[in-house]
C-alpha cells in the first residue's frame, strides 16, 4: 500500500483550516496546518508536502504572496504544486491574481468560498500530475474566477 499523499494548509482562519483539513483527511490525505506564512514556510521545508494550499490575506493582506515567493526560493519546493485560495477578489475585484495574469507562481487560484468538490478534484489532479512529471503543473481550465 502506497504512502498517503501529504497536503500542507497555510491559512490563518481556523474554521477554514478545520473544514478543509477534515475534507482532505477524509479523502485519504495526510494533512498538516500552519496559521501564518513563516510557520508555513518552515513546515513546508521540513515536510516537503505533495501539495500546498495557501491563503493570501493573513496578518498582512499580501502575506501569502511573499510566502509563495519564499517557497519557490527553496529548491526542494520550487516545483511543488500550490493552490492559492483567497477572498482577495471580494476586497480588490480589479486586481488580477490568477496564474493566467502571468505573475503568480502558483498552480491554481481558487476564490473563497471554495467549492469542496472542486478542491478535492484539483488537489488530486495536481498531485497526480506532479508525481507523474516531477514538474510544476500549470493550471487547467479557468482560474475559477
Amino acid at each position: 500500500m502506497s504512502e498517503p499523499k501529504s497536503v500542507l494548509i497555510i491559512d490563518d482562519d481556523p474554521d477554514f483550516v478545520h473544514a478543509v483539513g477534515e475534507l482532505l483527511a477524509s479523502s485519504g490525505y495526510q494533512v498538516s496546518t500552519a496559521s501564518n506564512g513563516r510557520e508555513g514556510l518552515d513546515l513546508a521545508k521540513r515536510l516537503q508536502p505533495d501539495l500546498i494550499l495557501l491563503d493570501v490575506m493573513m496578518s498582512e493582506r499580501t502575506e501569502g504572496f511573499f510566502t509563495l515567493e519564499q517557497i519557490r526560493d527553496v529548491p526542494a519546493l520550487a516545483e511543488t504544486p500550490v493552490i492559492v485560495i483567497s477572498s482577495i477578489y471580494s476586497d480588490h475585484p480589479v486586481f488580477k491574481v490568477s496564474p493566467e495574469a502571468g505573475w503568480l507562481p502558483a498552480s491554481l487560484f481558487l476564490p473563497k468560498p471554495v467549492d469542496p468538490a472542486r478542491l478535492i478534484a484539483e488537489s488530486a489532479r495536481l498531485i497526480a500530475a506532479s508525481a507523474a512529471t516531477g514538474a510544476h503543473v500549470p493550471q487547467a481550465g479557468s482560474s475559477g474566477r
Partner: protein
C-alpha cells in the same frame, strides 16, 4: 514618458507582482540602518529610509565575484551566466540611480565594456522612489536629486497616491501585469507633484558649490589640508566601500591545492588602502596616507570631471555617515575653498533652507 498614479494603499498589491520580473530586493531594516535585501513581507519594506548602508552598486559590482573558472583538463569556463540573475530593486533613491548611470559610463559605455556589469544591468529592473533629504544629503548640489533615466518606474509621493513615471518598456510591462491598479493622474495631481518637488528642493540643508572646484583643486594640490585630513583618516576604506560610484577592484587567481584548477576572483579595492598603488618591485605611488585621501577627492571631483564632464559624487552622504573619524566631504571641500578652517568650522557651504 508615460505618467500614471497608484493609490498608496494598493502599493503592496503592486509590489506582489514584481517577483515576476526577478528576485525582489527592497530597503529593509538592518540593525540601526537600512539595506537592500529580500523582504519577507510587505511590512519589511521601508519606504521612508534616509539611505542604505551600501548602495545598489553591490548588485552590479559585487564585493567579490568569480569571473571565470579554469581547469587543466576542461579549460576555461565562463561564469557570465551566473551574473545574469533577474532582479527587481524597489525603492531606489534618485542619487543612487544617478550613481548607476555614472557607473554605466565606465562599465557599459566606456572603452572596455564589462560583460558582467552589463549582464546585471540588463537583468535588473529598478523602481525609484523620492525621499526627504536629511542633514547629510547634498544630492541637490551634485545635480543628483532628480533623475530622468536609469529606472523602469519612479514613484513620487503626492499625498494619497504615488505619481508613477514609466521609464522603460519593462516598466510598462509591470503596469500592464498589475491590471487596473494604476490610474490616469489629474491636473491636480500634477500641481501637487510640482508643489512637493519644490518643497523637496528647499529641504536640502547641506549644500556645496561645485563651480570651478576642479580649478581650485588644481591650485590646492600641495595644500596643508590634505596632511591635516590624513592625521584623522584611518585608511579603513569605509568611504569608498559605501560609495555609489567607487569602482576600484582587485583581481586575483585563486588556485586549488592540487594546482590544476581555480577561479579568477574580482573583489572590491579602495584607493585608501596602502596597497592600492603598490606595484611589482615594491614601488608604491601613494605611500603616504595624505596622498591616498587626496587621490580619492581628486578622482571624484577633478579627474572624473575631465573625463566624463561631471563629478562622480552624487551627494548621498554615505561617506560622511560611515567615516569612523568624522571626516566629511563637505567640510573638506569648503576648507579647500578657503571657506572653513581646518577644523571644519564652516563660514559657508552649509545653509539652512529658507
Amino acid at each position: 514618458m508615460k505618467i500614471l498614479k497608484i493609490p498608496k494603499k494598493d502599493l503592496d498589491l503592486f509590489v506582489s507582482i514584481l517577483p515576476a520580473f526577478g528576485e525582489l530586493y527592497a530597503p529593509v531594516r538592518r540593525g540601526s540602518g537600512y539595506a537592500f535585501d529580500r523582504p519577507a513581507s510587505w511590512s519589511d519594506v521601508q519606504m521612508d529610509y534616509p539611505r542604505t548602508i551600501l548602495p545598489p552598486r553591490k548588485f552590479f559590482l559585487p564585493p567579490r565575484e568569480a569571473t571565470f573558472a579554469f581547469d587543466a583538463r576542461e579549460g576555461y569556463r565562463d561564469l557570465l551566466r551566473e551574473a545574469a540573475v533577474r532582479r527587481v530593486l524597489f525603492g531606489v533613491h534618485a542619487y543612487d540611480i544617478f550613481g548607476l548611470n555614472i557607473l554605466d559610463r565606465v562599465f557599459a559605455e566606456g572603452k572596455f565594456p564589462d560583460p558582467y556589469y552589463i549582464a546585471r544591468r540588463q537583468n535588473t529592473a529598478i523602481i525609484g522612489i523620492d525621499f526627504q533629504p536629511d542633514d547629510k544629503h547634498f544630492a541637490r548640489s551634485m545635480n543628483a536629486d532628480f533623475v530622468d533615466s536609469g529606472f523602469d518606474l519612479f514613484l513620487s509621493d503626492i499625498g494619497d497616491h504615488f505619481l508613477v513615471l514609466v521609464g522603460t518598456s519593462r516598466g510598462d510591462d509591470m503596469v500592464v501585469m498589475s491590471g487596473c491598479l494604476l490610474e490616469q493622474p489629474t491636473e491636480a495631481d500634477f500641481a501637487e507633484y510640482k508643489r512637493r518637488s519644490g518643497l523637496r528642493r528647499a529641504a536640502y540643508h547641506t549644500q556645496v558649490e561645485l563651480g570651478d572646484l576642479p580649478e581650485i583643486l588644481e591650485m590646492e594640490y600641495h595644500s596643508q589640508v590634505w596632511d591635516d585630513v590624513a592625521t584623522r583618516c584611518l585608511s579603513c576604506g569605509s568611504c569608498s566601500m559605501v560609495c555609489p560610484t567607487c569602482y576600484c577592484f582587485d583581481v586575483n587567481d585563486e588556485v586549488g591545492l592540487e594546482g590544476r584548477s581555480g577561479q579568477r576572483i574580482r573583489s572590491w579595492d579602495s584607493c585608501l588602502f596602502k596597497t592600492h598603488a603598490l606595484v611589482a618591485g615594491g614601488e608604491n605611488f601613494r605611500q603616504s596616507r595624505a596622498s591616498r585621501i587626496k587621490f580619492r577627492f581628486y578622482h571624484k571631483q577633478r579627474g572624473f570631471v575631465a573625463e566624463y564632464g561631471r563629478p562622480s559624487c552624487v551627494g548621498c552622504g554615505r561617506c560622511a555617515a560611515a567615516c569612523p573619524a568624522g571626516i566629511d566631504i563637505i567640510t573638506v571641500i569648503t576648507t579647500i575653498r578657503g571657506q572653513a578652517d581646518a577644523h571644519g568650522d564652516r563660514t559657508v557651504g552649509v545653509a539652512a533652507a529658507h
